[in-house]
């Protein structure tokens, strides 16, 4: 695997190399412009033919979305996660449908749940699981599910709020507590 990464490094710019916590897992961060070339190189020359998953992670603190492409080589029995970061304010990227047709659905899901636009994906604007959604994409970290649920459906049982036993115990017989 190290040889493959070396070869990759010779051709492309690898931003960051990480070793997974498991023997056969490697994580590579590449520049977003070279992603298509990296993926097609890995698929055609290095036997990483199986794209298991396309995923998105919201790093709201850094104002970035991480796109992860999880590859598997049946011959070498190695997992490779290729990741790129895109701007969270302008969440746009290009589809990889031409390389891996099944990515169409994954991208469609990411479009709906994170609002990342995949240029070239014809079905990404169709509804995937949500219907008539009028809020921000729900998997973004700044979408508050509890608040939405309370506003939308009302608080089923306002009593079910968690009781803070700590506070009750501290307050008990304690009118002279300093704080």
């Amino acid at each position: 695997m190290e040889q493959t990464i070396k070869k990759l490094e010779n051709i492309f710019k690898i931003v960051k190399k990480e070793k997974g916590k498991r023997e056969n897992l490697n994580i590579l961060e590449v520049e977003k412009d070279s992603l298509h070339a990296v993926l097609s190189y890995l698929r055609d020359n290095e036997s990483f033919k199986h794209l298991a998953l396309v995923s998105c992670v919201d790093w709201i603190e850094d104002n970035k979305f991480q796109l992860s492409y999880i590859l598997w080589s049946y011959q070498r029995r190695v997992n490779l996660i290729i990741k790129i970061f895109i701007d969270r304010d302008k969440p746009e990227f290009k589809t990889i449908m031409n390389l891996f047709p099944q990515a169409e659905v994954y991208e469609r899901e990411i479009k709906e749940l994170y609002g990342v636009n995949f240029e070239g994906n014809p079905t990404q604007d169709e509804e995937f699981v949500l219907e008539d959604w009028d809020q921000i994409p729900p998997m973004r970290r700044d979408f508050d599910t509890l608040k939405y649920s309370n506003e939308m459906f009302g608080d089923r049982d306002s009593e079910v709020k968690k009781t803070n036993i700590r506070k009750i115990i501290s307050d008990y017989t304690d009118e002279w507590r300093r704080k």
């Binding site: 916590k21 998953l53 998105c56 992670v57 992860s68 999880i70 029995r77 169409e104 979408f143 599910t145």
Partner: protein, 372 residues
């Protein structure tokens, strides 16, 4: 009312969202020319429970009651994946015996799922005797689960660090008894289903795959194995103690629905075999490594992708942690996603409408894992 003209040869139909067999609620928009399908569009969303989002606001341990509900009939693969991902990221060692028990649970789960599927595929073709047998026989395995884990469907049994309880006394014998019982019943299923000439007539040649598609669109599990590809996570990346068990990957070469059915039928034999091996070789010892205080358990930042061989294929969890006490992102790779979309769209053109639901069940699509 729109006047129907002979020129409007194409008709659009909605199938679902009721269960089109034993899969779960999903709907299909199919286009017909006569009774021949020309295209299909899959729609999910009827079972969306926002699990991935919910998991991001809960403690690691609190997600166990959630993950097991991602694929209802096969909860253990979810627990296994999630637990293994956390163990990997947090660096927790699992005691040897716990690994064996986990494998036992996973195989029992696989077995009951395939038995249920046997009933399902026959049921979709109108052979309603089979589902009744299957549900009845599957219940004996659920009884075992109840005894071992305390729950019949949602086990919440595999936790990071091991399993929740040790095997109760005499459990091994009862497992073997159920295995004997099921093995005795299997020839009946063969007579009723797999050697049934109607079943064969309908399935042989149905939904014939081009083997090139398997690698192209990421098909896994029995579907890939029916095309001769020896793809099985249990062998290619042995988790728990699969490397200590003696078995071969089951493949067929027909590339059609009947081959897929045969793969699954042979998987039942394999599971029974594996369960016997596990019970035979299971070591003694601890079943649990203590976790840190679960109410404040923080896992160092990192990411991993773990996978398990579910009945449908490669079931994966992509887990990203950020060092806090809650996961940053958990993405579940539902096996059925490529099957129910990309593969189905390629299989459908030219298919007879009566074979459509058989195809869906034959691919063993499971919408809850597509939408989570």
């Amino acid at each position: 009312m729109k006047e129907f003209k002979r020129e409007d040869r194409e008709v659009k139909l909605f199938v679902g969202p009721q269960h089109p067999g034993v899969t779960g609620n999903m709907s299909f928009e199919i286009t017909l020319e006569g009774d021949t399908l020309t295209s299909v569009k899959t729609h999910v969303g009827y079972l969306h429970r926002a699990f991935e989002k919910l998991m991001e606001r809960r403690l690691y341990i609190q997600n166990f009651p959630l993950v097991c509900r991602i694929c209802v009939p096969e909860s253990d693969t979810n627990e296994e994946n999630y637990a293994r991902a956390l163990e990997e990221l947090a660096g927790i060692e699992v005691p040897e015996r716990a690994k064996w028990i986990r494998t036992l649970v996973l195989e029992l789960s696989r077995l009951q799922m395939f038995i249920r599927w046997m009933g399902g595929i026959a049921g979709t073709m109108g052979l309603s005797t089979a589902p009744q047998w299957a549900i009845g026989d599957r219940d004996y395995i659920l009884d075992l689960f109840e005894e071992l884990t305390g729950g019949r469907i949602y086990h919440i049994y595999i936790l990071p660090g091991g399993v929740r309880r040790d095997i109760p006394e005499g459990f091994e014998e009862r497992v073997l008894k159920v295995m004997d019982y099921i093995e005795k019943k299997l020839p009946d299923y063969d007579d009723l289903i797999f050697e049934n000439s109607v079943f064969k007539k309908r399935l042989i040649g149905l939904s014939k795959l081009d083997p090139a598609w398997v690698e192209e669109i990421g098909v896994t599990g029995p579907v890939a194995r029916a095309c001769g590809f020896p793809f099985d996570v249990r062998k290619e990346q042995p988790y728990e103690i699969y490397d200590k068990l003696d078995f071969d990957i089951i493949t067929e070469t027909g590339c059609d629905m009947y081959s897929m059915a045969l793969v699954r039928r042979r998987e039942i034999d394999l599971s029974i075999n594996l369960i016997r091996q596990i019970i035979d070789k299971m070591p003694k010892g601890e079943v649990w490594t203590p976790l840190p205080n679960v109410l404040y358990w923080k896992i160092p930042a990192g990411e991993t992708y773990v996978k398990t061989e579910a009945t449908r294929g490669e079931f994966g969890y992509y887990v990203v942690t950020d060092g806090s006490d809650k996961p940053r992102r958990i993405h579940v790779r539902g096996v059925s996603t490529p099957h129910a979309y990309t593969l189905l769209e390629r299989l459908v053109p030219g298919m007879n409408i009566s074979d459509f639901s058989v195809t869906i069940v034959g691919l063993q699509t499971c919408p809850p894992e597509i939408e989570r």
